[in-house]
Amino acid sequence: MSERGTYFDKVWDRRVVQRLPGDSALLFADRVVLYELLGAKAALDIEERFGGRLYDPQRIVAVTDHIAPAKDGDSAQQAQALRLWARRNGVRMYDIGEGGICHVVVGERGYVTPGTTVCCSDSHTCTLGAFGAIALGAGTTAIEGAMLGGALVVKRPKVMRVQVNGRLASGATAKDLALKVSQMLGFRGGVGYVLEYAGEAIEALTMEQRLTLCNMAIEAGATTGIIAADATTYDYLAAAGVDVTPDDALRADADARYDATLEIDASALGPMISWGTNPGESVPIDDAVPADADPAALAYMGLTAGQKLRGLAIDQAFIGSCTNARLSDLRAAAEVFRGRHVSVPTIVTPGSERVRRAAEREGLHEVFQDAGALWTHSTCGACCGLSMGVLAPQMRCASSSNRNFPGRMGEGGRVHLAAPVVVAASAVLGRLATADELEPALTEVHA
């Protein structure tokens, strides 16, 4: 199995400290990321059980993101516990006002480099596979192990090549590609696999687009996603102030053997929308709800099989999350909002405080606010339904986030996942829509 020669295997082989029974291995943990909601307990457990021994505090990064700033006493306790622990242990913490969503912060600040590993107590850690690294979400205990021992116990996954041919059609985004992969594989089609994205379309993606794509590998049940590092990766890291020498040996063999292959024609893609209660339940926006749709999902979503999705009235719109809240996402959404006005409550939440400030330097916050949207500080916010923008039962929300699980954004709330431009157009029209349905913006009319 170790002779497959895939890009993933090349990284894996470089990080094996020790082979273990059952095709598992002890992998070196280059970075460990913690956040308040699921990280504070891990940090305190290590202190309690092992006297605070850490393998290397400089390899650990902490943020507050899920409920940031704290909303009540309980959430304040979690953030404060992590904050004080970080201070006691010399761990770098990006707190409110400086940080933002962990996967965005860790990526933009160059903490993840090609050929390394990163782990975090959050399933969307797979986002960071975009840097050509093995990026693993893990539970509390596994993260404690990584903090204590500097290593992860990982079962070697099978490798699926997600071959994306052609170039993304002009009406399609990385999010539509991510939803297409979810639809094709289904919610569990990736279980036991790492998704290695490759092909002309992938090579042409910017880092921000790659991060969006890798973010949703977990939504097909995959162990993680990964994209081979190339000039795009190294240029991005250089701009982030990280000096990494490109490594020509770190590449998939020309005759690499994959355990499975999924082929997609990027040029045929268009806007996608989820209709059900997992991201695999997604279709092109002009398709109807599938005839064989799961009745439980239909009941939850208040839909019927065969129903059209375009035009479905919504009650709220959300642009944000570790999937789609980077500067390019905000720019694209702003182009839709410019000179127009929302017709449902709309929240725009930048992925990090760095992204927020960059967006404000370009005046994007004015565009959102002129359009009547709420422009917020950076946080996971409405995506996880814990602190703000929570949905009431039966409220329907178009969202640029990654999960439409029952109750995800609020008990009984209905979530339709889509690209930021689709969410923005839907916010303006108050129904699931694409930007080509919009009347010319006021500014264009005046011009």
């Binding site: 699921l38 399933s123 539970g139 205990t141 596994a142 021992g149 569990r188 279980v191 008990e411």
Partner: protein, 181 residues
């Protein structure tokens, strides 16, 4: 190790960890009070739990525990009295968390699952890797074999962190010999 007790038949696929432990219950430092909220995001689970108050073995369909990495999902099931989960497949992180906390994750084939879904009680012999299925009108008593991960089964008794701790000298030696950021 033997797990024996009444079955909780959760006849659903893709039960994600948001449903097992909704996010609002992750707020705060206390993780010992999850028994009452276990599975509270699964539609119809309240009636199911009320009908099976002493359940020890949860039987579900494929991809159980997918989604969020929250270990609370495993803690909540354990606090509710569940000692083993039988399904046709698991979310990776949930399965790891289960091993690390002593919740036995048993993977079996689709054809066997139907029989287990209808059983009142099950007896799981973790060492031998067998599930005893009681006799029913139309079928005699029988055994279903399963395999646990040969490495992670050692962690069921709570040894994961001790294992990692023992590897530290090797990890340090590896780091000294390799280039890392």
């Amino acid at each position: 190790m033997i797990v024996e007790g009444p079955v909780l038949p959760l006849d659903r696929a893709n039960v994600d960890t948001d449903q097992i432990t909704p996010g609002r219950y992750l707020v705060g430092m206390n993780t010992d009070n999850l028994a009452a909220i276990a599975l509270s995001g699964v539609p119809g689970a309240a009636e199911l739990l009320a009908a099976h108050p002493d359940a020890a073995v949860l039987v579900a369909r494929e991809n159980f525990g997918c989604g969020s990495s929250r270990e609370h999902a495993v803690w909540a099931l354990l606090q509710r009295g569940i000692r083993a989960v039988v399904a046709t497949s698991f979310g990776r992180i949930f399965e790891e968390n289960a091993y690390n906390n002593g919740l036995v994750p048993v993977t079996i084939g689709e054809s066997d699952l139907d029989a287990l879904m209808h059983a009142q009680t099950l007896r799981i012999d973790v060492e031998r890797g067998t599930i005893a299925v009681p006799a029913r009108e139309d079928s005699p008593e029988r055994e279903i074999a399963f395999e646990l991960d040969p490495l992670r089964r050692e962690y069921l008794a709570g040894g994961f962190l001790a294992f990692v701790e023992r590897q530290i000298p090797d990890v340090r030696a590896w780091e000294a010999a390799h280039s890392t950021p």
